[in-house]
Symmetry: C2
Subunit: 313 residues, 2 copies
């Protein structure tokens, strides 16, 4: 089931008119960008004739929640390879509990042993006669980058159509950037739609250089693969001023903004992804003070909001 | 911000083609029918020139969560009169925590002392120079019945438009019935749209006789007030075979259906309202076995799903 997610206006910030694209309302498994991305992985899995879905992500992962729910719906066996936290601990979250309840097999591993674990799982299923599909491609994590970015190329078209409906143009787009694939997709889509949106990823985990490198690599590969080497994709813009210690870490102003946003606007954010990015965007805009139309892509994470609420309300 | 909520098809059940209207995706404070109803209360409050919102509902109440969030957004003072549970205890839920966090004043009371408490709160605010608005009208709970039912008259028009888009007609509509006002609104709207939907409320708390009486009273009053005494509103249909001990109580098959629905279809239900009603509908349809198009109105309750999940997953 597809759906054009609504774009909602929020109060101005300095000179900026703020809009939010509510990808969190996608109507499957608590929504979010991962719903579109997981659907793309399942379509690719079927195209390749595979029969086991192998996901990768830690206890907070929205992607793993959606992958395991979609596998349950499609009645496809699913394995989630789940690295422990930096400190070796295993967090329990609503996402990880939904993964467990889905019947997916969870294979925990040390963060330094991901490659070996992926290889072992793939070998094991192949030996048993299955054709496993690993979302990141091969054991080195290469091969499926095109799939996860494809979904958001289409979303750029959706945003362009919504601009026409609303009678405005967005000057800037902000979103949380983790692996950067949602951003890469939007950037390719923007070029195809001939939009100059100035898309900025607020990094929630990685240094900006690494994010930019991965995004550039992806957009260049797409241009090559699709025979349009001259397509004017902008240079990746990533801001890593709001890492706050890294993945899953946050500071009190983010928590305060999450509380304010759910109470004042009825919109749930979370401190790992969307809330951190929304906070970063607001800080950047407050500094700029320009009058422009700014779109924030709410990439979802509803269950993480409830984890946050349990401890921070 | 308004939005036409999507209608989604689910697997057939016996002969019935099952559809779900995702009111849970209304884009404010976790959605649900109470978003439309609370908006109607705020509009009426302003029309009456009132300046304090007085809500009523227990710890599980979705309406109180939305009312307090909307009061926070509108910067209107809000009081929630909250009856203790039958056994005198005070449950804590994500809804009640959101109410508390909103800054609403919570006035707890014994279930037998509601009238006195409402009167005391109204008197107190009036003495202080405010003009309080009580969602249920006066201290006897009369006067605002028209407001809460009005929102769903409009939704009937939305459903009729969606039938045309989808190229089908619904033979039956099911929904959770608590106070019956959502059902009464839909029934009036169905008559206005000239639809024979056979709307059935699955009662989640009250005996069917009491529900039917309240709904009939409401639809008759509406016809009179709107000068259309001959409008062909159907006789209220309410089923109380799934009370399972009353409000907030449920049995294991409901819990199993909630788990299955979130995992297989990515749709959260809750055991107090939507899950109980969805279960009741499915039992009724399994018995009928007719080939027809059936629409379930998912009236929301996302935070209650997470309460359920904490204890039952």
């Amino acid at each position: 089931m597809t759906m054009m997610t609504p774009i909602q206006q929020l109060p101005d910030l300095g000179g900026a008119h703020i809009f939010m694209k509510r990808e969190d309302l996608l109507p499957f498994s608590f929504g979010g960008n991962k719903v579109r991305i997981a659907a793309a992985f399942f379509a690719d899995m079927k195209k390749q004739g595979c029969d086991v879905m192998i996901g990768y992500g830690n206890a907070r992962s929205n992607l793993c929640r959606v992958l395991s729910a979609m596998a349950c719906r499609e009645q496809v066996p699913c394995v989630i390879i789940s690295p422990d936290d930096e400190d070796g601990s295993r967090t329990e979250t609503f996402n990880s509990r939904l993964v467990r309840a889905s019947g997916a097999r969870i294979r925990s591993c040390n963060k330094t042993k991901v490659r070996e674990t992926v290889k072992a799982v793939l070998d094991e299923y192949r030996a048993a006669g299955y054709k496993p599909y690993y979302i990141n491609g091969n054991a080195e994590g290469r091969g499926n980058e095109a799939v996860s970015c494809e979904a958001y190329i289409r979303v750029a078209g959706e945003i362009a159509a919504q601009e026409a409906e609303m009678g405005l143009r967005f000057d800037r787009i902000y979103l949380a950037s983790g692996t950067g694939m949602t951003q890469a997709g939007l950037m390719i889509g923007a070029a195809l739609e001939k939009r100059n949106w100035q898309i900025t990823g607020i990094s929630i985990a990685r240094p900006a250089d690494r994010c930019r490198e991965v995004i550039r690599e992806r957009t260049e590969a797409w241009k090559k693969a699709n025979g349009c080497p001259a397509l004017a994709v902008e240079e990746p813009s990533v801001c890593d001023a709001y890492l706050m210690g890294g993945y899953g870490q946050w500071e009190e102003p983010v928590a305060a903004l999450i509380r304010e946003t759910v109470l004042r606007h009825g919109i749930p954010l979370d401190p790992t992804y969307s809330g951190k990015a929304f906070y970063g965007m607001r800080e950047e805009l407050a500094r700029d003070g320009r009058e422009e139309n700014v779109l924030f892509i709410h990439t979802g994470g509803g269950p993480l909001f409830f984890d946050f609420m349990q401890h921070e309300f």
